[in-house]
Symmetry: C2
Subunit: 253 residues, 2 copies
């Protein structure tokens, strides 16, 4: 058995607003050899969470305001899409060449405030981030516990761009039952020296590992990670909110 | 068999300057059930690469210059350590509260220009990043090919802090044989819509996945990833240099 294993749950249907995602994941888990167990981590791409929660907007229903129209004209974007993005945005961090980098109301810094047109349910529909991804993760974990009698951790993920580096990495935006950070400060390395500044973003690394096991264009939003039991607890824990760095403490930004 | 599997190579000795790391990895791979195969990715923590390459400095031998002494006094750091950091630094991005965020000569933006005192070979010794991590990855791949008759991809990694988020993620600083980016732009999603801006930083996600399989304080610098063959090629490819975003094109920074 490998130290760490990642396997997509098979046979999830297209998810639509109002669907019971917990029940769909429970059923899909039963079709995966080995199922789900305590100590597993189930990484779920946020799109299916957002769709089940109705966090979808039809652009035809959106009336762009003055600020959205001005930004859209400046950046060559659909003013209705910009209106939806601004609704999700606490602060516009950067805007240039058609790209809007936003700090969302949750505190995530990402392109278009996480609003995405790909993999939406209908043409002209866009998918938002869940309103409270940590609460979504806790609810999914509770549903899995109720349906399966075990309580794997749940991580909800999205792909974020990064400063200084090309490409996107899958990132944890919500979690329940997984310790998001593994703090090695004060512990000794193998030469007995104290490790002074090593705090590992376990939830983000788990999101990344799950993404590698997923065929992006196929319907594999949920991936079981096995081998992270040391980071999984009975308590839901602080959630991915603990991964947000306070702006005033952020040397990197 | 899991879609993605990660397993540390067992029994690597402490690595010292001048050691033949390719030979050590070849021998360790023979002790891992299943060994190494074409299509595998071997993720190697940079520390052992740097040590084998002699990228270690004894602070006792370092004479801090005026700038290092001034920065050290301002930030409560060892002036000899700051001298080593400045030697690795193309630009000081941020300096505050004892932390120096640097753009290295390679172009990486990270704390202390990647200079690290933990897991060093001797007290008062610090480990630098490899001088050319992509070249190091190519050399290790060639050594594995010569020793094993197969050519797994090689990724060299370090843990980097990130803007906006707490904790560090393991990140690719060198690679050979692994396509560092998987560009989905222009391909269709499962509704037939074009995915407009999805470029996945596969090498960084691979580094993160490998880190989760590794016990940080034990001697497990090398991790085999199995299941990424779609991203592995016979050519060494562009290396992790392709992951560096040009500063003038960086909306996130």
């Amino acid at each position: 058995v490998a130290r760490l294993q990642a396997d997509p749950l098979p046979g999830l249907p297209e998810v639509r607003p109002g669907d019971d995602l917990g029940a769909l994941l429970t059923a899909a888990a039963a079709r995966l050899p080995g199922g789900l167990a305590d100590g597993d981590v189930l990484a779920v791409a946020h799109k299916v969470v957002s769709k089940a929660e109705g966090r979808v907007r039809a652009l035809a229903d959106v009336m762009p305001g003055a600020r959205a129209r001005a930004l859209a004209a400046e950046h060559g974007k659909d003013p209705r899409l910009v209106e939806v993005i601004l609704g999700e945005t606490a602060a516009l961090v950067r805007a240039d060449r058609g790209r809007l980098i936003c700090r969302t109301h949750h505190g995530f810094v990402c392109a278009n405030a996480g609003v995405d047109a790909s993999n939406a349910t209908a043409p002209d529909a866009v998918v938002l981030l869940p309103a409270d991804p940590d609460a979504s993760a806790r609810a999914l974990r509770a549903a899995l516990r109720a349906g399966l009698g075990v309580a794997p951790a749940v991580v909800i993920t999205d792909s974020f761009g990064r400063a200084w580096r090309m490409g996107q990495c899958e990132t944890a935006i919500g979690c329940a039952g997984l310790a998001p950070l593994d703090d090695w400060r004060g512990r000794a390395d193998n030469a007995g020296r104290e490790l002074t500044a090593t705090v590992i973003a376990v939830a983000d690394e788990a999101a990344a590992a799950a993404d590698l096991a997923r065929a992006k264009a196929s319907r594999e939003p949920a991936v079981r990670l096995r081998g992270l039991a040391a980071h999984v607890g009975a308590d839901d824990g602080p959630g991915a909110a603990a991964l947000l760095r306070a702006p005033e403490d952020d040397l990197f930004a």
